[in-house]
Amino acid sequence: MPTVSVGRDRLFAALGRTYTQEEFKALCFEFGIELDDVTTEKAIIRKEKHLEDDGEVDDDDEVIYKIEVAANRYDLLCLEGLARALRVFTGTEGSPVFQVSSIPRGSILQMHVKPETSKIRPYVVCAVLRGVAFDEARYNSFIDLQDKLHQNICRKRTLVAIGTHDLDTLQGPFSYEALPPHEINFVPLKQNSPVYPVIYDSNRTVLSLPPIINGAHSAITLATRNIFIECTATDLTKANIVLNTMVTMFSEYCETKFEVEPVEVVHYDGRKTVYPDLSCYKMDVSLYDILGPIGISQDEKQVVCPLNKMQLQAESHSLKGEPRISVSVPPTRSDILHARDLLEDIAIAYGFNNVPKSKPKCMTIGGRQPLNRFSDKIHAEVARGGYMEVLTFILFSHEENFDMLNRADDKSKAVIIANPRTSEFEVVRTSLMSCLLKTLKHNIDHPRPIKIFEVGDVVMLDSSRDVGASNNRRLAALYCNMVSGFEAYANLIKLSRKLWDWWILDSIVKVVRAPHVNFGENYYVPTDEPEFFPKRQCKIVTSDGKQVGYLGIVHAEVLRKFGIPDPCTFVEMDLEALL
């Protein structure tokens, strides 16, 4: 969620009254924004410079409110829009009506778009703000809004880049071109394209090299009165939203308030479009459709007021006896896509906390996934066997999942992360062995014997699945003592099974066996895997020869790599195969 910093006193001046912090917080909560932090200019500077708080409280220091706003409300990204929205919400002011000034066809400013631009950044939209009265605060807000838009909807200028210029330093018409680098006087860094976008005026003065650089020649200053705004883009919808946000926010300071001068964009194929498009989006919805899903009943007149509070011009009428509401969505409210969005605004204006509670009427029966239920039963079985449950991550370093277990990655099993932030998140586990050894290492001073287990998923590449990978539910148990557990529980086990974990295995085999899963007489088959000591390992197979688990004494090299000084036995079973 974006955060907007505004001076408290300026905000209260714009709201026409002051609030206590608690009152303002309550107002924010109702409106759906959040007073995130209260600080001062000096504190922000101190923080940036990593200076200690000197505890000095300066009454002259301006208090800054940091306010968190919804990510799709670009009209709340500056003080002007925020204050306006709150004034309308509290009913102290009506919604503004934005207008495009009517200019004779011949004297309208033009922007000519050249065909090469389609190869790199095809769209440009423009507008002019006339007679702007800047002071320092307004000027800073104007610059900050561009920055906020660039960071949010413009996705760091990739989708849209804004250029704002002092129109009095330039001579129209303008042209939007894309030229090979050698034909432009300076070349932006880090772009790799045969052509680069550039905007010229009629004197071939470079206004900007989108998306990064704006020319110094036409830079706006505190003294600028007439502002030319151009937005170049790869997404026309977003270019219009950004341009409209800029002009609707700052036309407030124009000579004729809320009036914007249009610019005609002349496409190379002859199409001509006038921007900005400040027309309202008309919606017409049935009263029931927007009240029903909230669960409140109001008459049409009661609905008009809350919509107006959210800057949506609404009127009630009726069609064939059914009450309906027609709504004009202003250019500031690009977030309204559907009648459902009107519904939310009515609910907000009504107050979420005033909506009467009710209960869904549908009768349904609860239930669980068989695999999870089964896992829980196995989990309880192992815990009853005296093991302690641990819970570990599925993400590991490549080294932990392979090298440290004496295993090689044959690229046939593991899911590999493309963009890990650190080496801890390189690969998704293909067994629980590293998990338990790593957990043991972090508790290495715990009294022996240590008996831990985990029931959890591993992930394997699986071409039979739509996404190419599937989870597999596993049980893993580990026993660590000064001796490996050989003989320790021999008396509990028939035959000559000597590993401690064998007991867990046997007890699981006993509780899941026939008629559900069939095990033969000898379900232990010796193996020769690198993570275990030779001759101290085996796999467990069902009577049809399918492997459902494995166990052994962990190899000395593996223990050394994990920093574990004492012998460990480890068992892992595929629970889905036993279900």
Binding site: T237, I294, I296, R340, G366, M388, V467
Partner: protein, 498 residues
């Protein structure tokens, strides 16, 4: 009955003596009168004192005692006296003397020479001659006096100390008299109830020893459950009581299509950035997508429909095919709702899940790259925001959070969207406990769900309420390989939903 032990004899003797004589002034001499070691007697005295049968007073005295070496001198004479006695009138060679005296030779030679008891033949330093007829063995006499407890001058003590012939020893003995609980023969107290007691019936006559209830017993080997899983089970039970069915969430790898696109989350949304989501090298892309449905999803993004303007941008299939580790379990909810939409006639559902989700975030005290998401949803005709609030109150009050309020929020696939706050009595403030909303028509209608069907849903993490519940302030102390085994062992029962 147990065989009569020597200690029992000593005890009987002592008690009989006290009964007749009334006191024992010196336990040492009493021990020798009984013919047992003092140590043995002390054991009996301690046991009897503990029950206040006898009253014992400690007598502590420090005294010089002879070393083993000195005891030998008392018996055989001092080395110098031994040496002189070993020299025949004609004299003897040093070697012969050494052989005869052994260890005493060196010391004896030096002391005898100092006392001028011996001399050497001129010109033959090897032949030792006796210069006195008889000697007065003073050392032997002093040691003997000391051993008998007679007074010895301080100078002599210092000399003997220097020669390491005496050491100071503290000796403790006791004077005894009858205690307040005196009996001639005490009853043996039983410590445990045995099969034998039950069988013989002698438990009727037994008196049991007092039990130390505060004593720490040996820890028993038992199993333990991870606290997070305890809380998960409790929350699961709440869902099931409320008629919710669990969704199958055992698919960590998901396509962008099901994780984002199908949820009407635009392709340029920041959540789809690589610094928020784990994308995959293997398997990099998804192989199959439901084509009819994909076409509808594409259109609603690109040009709207179902009453929506849409986002109006160029939707790319490549983006939808990118695989990732799911960022929310809502990807599964979406698959389930799509499946439900294909079933005719429509039947209402309540679904829940609690499983892992993944975010490519920096790990700190409150953030992990993987955590558990709790999600619940209801799908039916005519559901309302009021229904959502009602269900949330039921659900959260089962978790002990009965004071809720709701804040407007933004989420690309829910409208309205509400953040859920609960008043925390301990922290004395409102804390955010989850998110909720009604799924957008742009998400539900392309699936084929009938018009008028709404979905109300909410989600929260499992870790956060667990941390609040157990007072844990670092998430890494609760989940992951660094969790302390002692935390798992000392974890109290989870009482949620009781």
């Amino acid at each position: 009955m147990a065989e009569k032990s020597p200690a029992a004899d000593v005890e009987a003797g002592l008690l009989a003596h006290l009964n007749s004589a009334g006191e024992v002034p010196d336990s040492r001499s009493f021990a020798s009168s009984l013919g047992v070691s003092h140590l043995e007697l002390v054991g009996v005295i301690k046991s009897l004192s503990a029950f206040r049968i006898v009253e014992s007073k400690d007598i502590i005295k420090e005294a010089w005692v002879l070393t083993e070496e000195a005891k030998g001198y008392v018996a055989k004479g001092s080395p110098e006296a031994q040496l002189v006695a070993a020299i025949p009138p004609e004299g003897v060679s040093k070697d012969a003397l050494k052989a005869k005296l052994g260890d005493a030779f060196d010391v004896g030679m030096k002391a005898a020479a100092r006392n001028k008891w011996i001399g050497f033949e001129k010109g033959n330093k090897d032949l030792v001659l006796r210069k006195v007829e008889s000697v007065m063995d003073e050392l032997q006499e002093q040691l003997r006096r000391l051993e008998n407890g007679e007074a010895v001058p301080d100078k002599v003590i210092d000399d003997l100390k220097r020669r390491k012939l005496i050491t100071k020893e503290k000796s403790i003995w006791h004077s005894l008299k009858k205690g307040p609980e005196f009996v001639l023969k005490r009853k043996t107290l039983a410590t445990d109830v045995t099969t034998e007691h039950l069988r013989s019936g002698d438990w009727k006559d037994l008196e049991f020893k007092d039990y130390n209830y505060g004593a720490q017993g040996q820890p028993i080997a038992k199993g333990y459950v991870q606290p997070l899983m305890e809380v998960r089970e409790a929350i699961e039970n709440i869902f099931i009581m409320m008629g919710f069915t669990e969704m199958p969430t055992n698919n960590f790898v998901e396509s962008s299509f099901w994780n984002f696109d199908a949820l009407f989350q635009p392709q340029q949304h920041p959540a789809r950035d690589s610094h928020d989501t784990f994308f995959l090298n293997a398997p990099a892309t998804t192989q199959q997508l439901p084509e009819d449905y994909l076409e509808k999803v594409k259109l609603v993004h690109q040009s709207g429909g179902y009453g929506s303007k849409g986002y109006v941008y160029d939707w790319k299939r490549d983006e939808a095919e990118k695989n990732l580790l799911r960022t929310h379990t809502t990807a599964v909810s979406t698959r389930m709702l799509y499946k439900l939409a294909q079933e005719k006639p429509f039947a209402p559902k309540r679904y829940y899940s609690i499983d892992r989700v993944f975010r490519n975030e920096a790990v700190d005290r409150t953030h992990l790259a993987e955590f558990h998401q709790i999600e619940g949803l209801i799908c039916d005709y005519g559901l309302t925001l009021g229904d959502l609030i009602g269900v949330l109150e039921d659900f959260f009050s089962s978790l002990g959070m009965s004071k809720l309020r709701f804040k407007p929020a933004y989420n690309p696939y829910t409208e309205p969207s509400m953040e859920i706050f609960s008043y925390h009595d301990g922290l004395k403030k409102w804390v955010e406990v989850g998110n909720s909303g009604m799924f957008r028509p742009e998400m539900l209608l392309p699936m084929g769900l009938p018009e008028g069907v709404n979905v109300i849903a909410w989600g929260l993490s499992l870790e956060r309420p667990t941390m609040i519940l157990y007072g844990i302030d670092n998430i890494r102390d609760l989940f992951g390989p660094k969790v302390d085994f002692n935390l798992i062992k000392s974890n109290p029962l989870c009482r949620l939903g009781l």
